[in-house]
Assembly symmetry: C2
Homo-oligomer: 245 residues x 2
Amino acid sequence: MNRGRTTDKNPIPSVWAREQRRTDQPALSREAIVREAVAMLDADGIEALSMRKLGARLNAGATSLYRHVATKDELMELAVDEVAAEIHVPPADSPDWRAAVTEAAESFRTTALRHPWLTLVLGQAGLAYLGPNYMSFSERLAALFTAAGFPEPSRAIETVFSYVMGMSNAEAAWLTTVARSGETEAGFIARLMPAAQRAAADHTHLAIPHAEVEEATTEPAALRDTKFAYGLEVVLDGLALRLPK
Amino acid sequence: MNRGRTTDKNPIPSVWAREQRRTDQPALSREAIVREAVAMLDADGIEALSMRKLGARLNAGATSLYRHVATKDELMELAVDEVAAEIHVPPADSPDWRAAVTEAAESFRTTALRHPWLTLVLGQAGLAYLGPNYMSFSERLAALFTAAGFPEPSRAIETVFSYVMGMSNAEAAWLTTVARSGETEAGFIARLMPAAQRAAADHTHLAIPHAEVEEATTEPAALRDTKFAYGLEVVLDGLALRLPK
DNA sequence: TCGGCTGTGCGTACAGTGTTCGCAACGAAG
DNA sequence: CTTCGTTGCGAACACTGTACGCACAGCCGA
């Protein structure tokens, strides 16, 4: 818990009674802090991360972290850039731009669902995510869309990734509440369905097709995959129309 | 600040020294609380809202609010539903479905920018926003897309509103940081441009077209309008392809 | 007119938060 | 050996959301 010295109810200021600084644990470092923060965020959600708990998991005091990180917000930015490295964007010279963009979009979604706090933090900050990994992600995207022949690649990118962000954010939020319930996704849906049906009863157009109910209660993850892919195809179709032929 | 009784450093338990309860202020009510919460959220942002400050603005103590609202999270849900009433969705029998959907999308965006905390709260909760106004918003959308002839209206809705949410969220976050800077949007951009240019210098494909820079520093709001409309057209084009003719 | 009941306000308190400050201990350099 | 810059951290501050229990107001039946 502590790293030595005069603690543990030993107020005698004696050099001899002093514990040695433990060196078996690797020293506190920015990298280690960020890595552990990401682990905690993934495991327990965004509101479970506190500087004190994070310090404890690193066998350090809370305030020690401030030697390596200016503020908690900065730590979150670093965490975002850390996981941004996981997003894979195919090289610009890919033969099929649609396949390449689809791959990038799905990679983003996968990352966002693996770290369900990602979209939340991204949405809170507005800009400034100019970390190296996030920058290179943007750069690779720009290269991809430019090579595809879009005259205004930034517009196309913004369109696709607004959709991807919106969808991923909604999915991540959903998965978070499912996780908090302690149930499996299918079980959670099954338990919620009656209430949903009742709520939709007064609203004629909100009825859920039977096939959808069926799939939602048996293979919810697959259904989400399908939905995401559907919307992505829609957006890509719309973009394809704007590609000078 | 307080509503009477033995306070203000008057520990003498005398009935005579007691102030009367003030009745000139309207009584605390759920509606008043939610209304004031929305006002505070709009004015000072999401992290500036605390139960104590909210209570103070209502001439009440912080804990008094809990007589009308179970928890702060519930208050946020109520706030979301409150502003959801501002979103306008045209009736289902509109002659031009594209125009109608565009109107709904722009109304959502306008509302989200007027209350920049909206998308944040929506993204944090995952579901459960089953308040009456949000429900009727969903219902009206469903009616609109059904009338337009979409065989799977929920898919189409999800696609459009993922885009709208993603875009609005990004814009809201941007406007929030601009507001925090205390500058105008154009001024903020002008001040940031050199840093952005420098950051993009190493990344060949991230160069910003000169025309865009020009417009961003003169009419940033109009540029955002244009960008939003562009992406929306893309999505609607993609959807139109799936409309059985 | 008199209870008593119910609903409402809120002072106090608790456990937690992010962050500042100053001190103590260390490794390296002179 | 002394000095110096770096690192860890205990204590403290100003907050946060919220549970608890008391004090009062208005009302309803007697």
